[in-house]
């Protein structure tokens, strides 16, 4: 099936040493780790900058955006490079792939993990998640993304310091991050948007 379109043979890498595999956030691509990679490579780590299907420079197959398929893609990368003693790093949506990878493939190859701003266990309000967000709010957010991604990014930023109010969040960096989301095909954004609408 379409999974064959995903080519795990050449994820970008930087540095050498124990491997660190990065799973980027919804709508972003491996570039989001740009400011961490030089220091980590200098510290003696092999940074494997894999990109989720549909995102960045990966293929854009029509199917396979459920977490099982995404975990299989990650496993394909890990198996192809025969990585051992791995540190898995996942940001936001990326860490859901990591969790599913571990429950599907076990932790024999993985030594440790880093979750950056995870969206687990879930944002949507439900019986077992009573303090979660109103589903109507998430549905409205989904509709806003579907209607106009650049507008959605702009309104999010206008509503408050979405990308952070710290001095480091300069307009240039905000623009760069927004562009990654805008450049991701809408059909891909929406595939994972209904359940985790604001999980960049």
């Amino acid at each position: 099936m379409n999974r064959k379109q995903f080519r795990p043979d050449k994820p970008p890498e930087w540095g050498s040493g124990p491997p660190v595999v990065f799973a980027h956030a919804w709508g972003l691509r491996s570039d989001e780790w740009d400011y961490q990679i030089p220091a980590l490579a200098d510290a003696g780590l092999r940074c494997v900058l894999y990109e989720r299907r549909g995102h960045g420079r990966s293929d854009r197959p029509a199917a396979g955006y459920d977490f099982d398929a995404l975990a299989d893609d990650l496993a394909a990368v890990i198996n192809h490079l025969d990585l051992q003693d791995i540190t898995l790093v996942g940001h936001s949506l990326g860490r859901r792939e990591l969790v599913r990878y571990l429950t599907r493939y076990g932790d024999t190859r993985v030594t440790r993990m880093v979750f950056v701003a995870p969206t687990t266990p879930q944002l949507r309000r439900s019986a077992d998640n009573p303090d979660g967000w109103d589903p109507a709010l998430l549905d409205a957010n989904y509709a806003a993304v579907a209607a106009n991604v650049p507008q959605w990014c702009a309104s999010f930023e206008a509503a408050g310091p979405y990308f952070g109010s710290s001095p480091g969040a300069s307009p240039g960096l905000v623009d760069w991050t927004t562009r990654m989301i805008v450049d991701t095909p809408l059909r891909v954004l929406l595939r994972r948007c209904s359940s985790t609408p604001t999980s960049t």
Binding site: T103, D107, P121, P161
Partner: protein, 132 residues
């Protein structure tokens, strides 16, 4: 994913900002760390923003929350410098005017000293005004 998280035993570092709007820490990071078998939660607190006046023009319009907290007033050292500057200029101005009136009354309006003082005032007063 609650059940899945509980099964994971891999040591995990959870990093989360306490101002995260898209994934509020109480709803996500803190719960995730509690569910995992072996997790360390590290919270990044809100960094103090720089004074509004030092930000690029128009920045505060895109950050209404920030704008509310710092309603356009310079903070810290900048405020101190401005206060000291304004006080010094006001004092100089006051002394100049006082000197002018005193000398006029003492020497009379036609004396040389008063003419010189008037000339000095004509230069210094605008200068003082500019400084203020």
């Amino acid at each position: 994913m609650t059940g899945e998280l509980q099964k994971i035993q891999v040591p995990t570092l959870v990093l989360h900002g306490d101002q995260d709007a898209s994934a509020p820490i109480e709803l996500t990071g803190r719960k995730t760390a509690a569910l995992l078998g072996s997790a360390t939660l590290r919270v990044y607190p809100r960094r103090r923003p720089r004074p509004v006046r030092q930000r690029p023009r128009g920045h505060q319009h895109r950050h209404p929350r920030l704008h509310r907290r710092n309603p356009g007033r310079p903070a810290g050292r900048l405020l101190l410098m401005r206060t000291v500057g304004a006080t010094a200029t006001a004092t100089v101005r006051f002394l100049l005017e006082l000197g002018a009136y005193a000398s006029l009354g003492y020497w009379g309006a036609s004396t040389r000293g008063a003419v010189a003082l008037r000339a000095a005032l004509a230069v210094l007063a605008p200068l003082a005004a500019i400084l203020v």
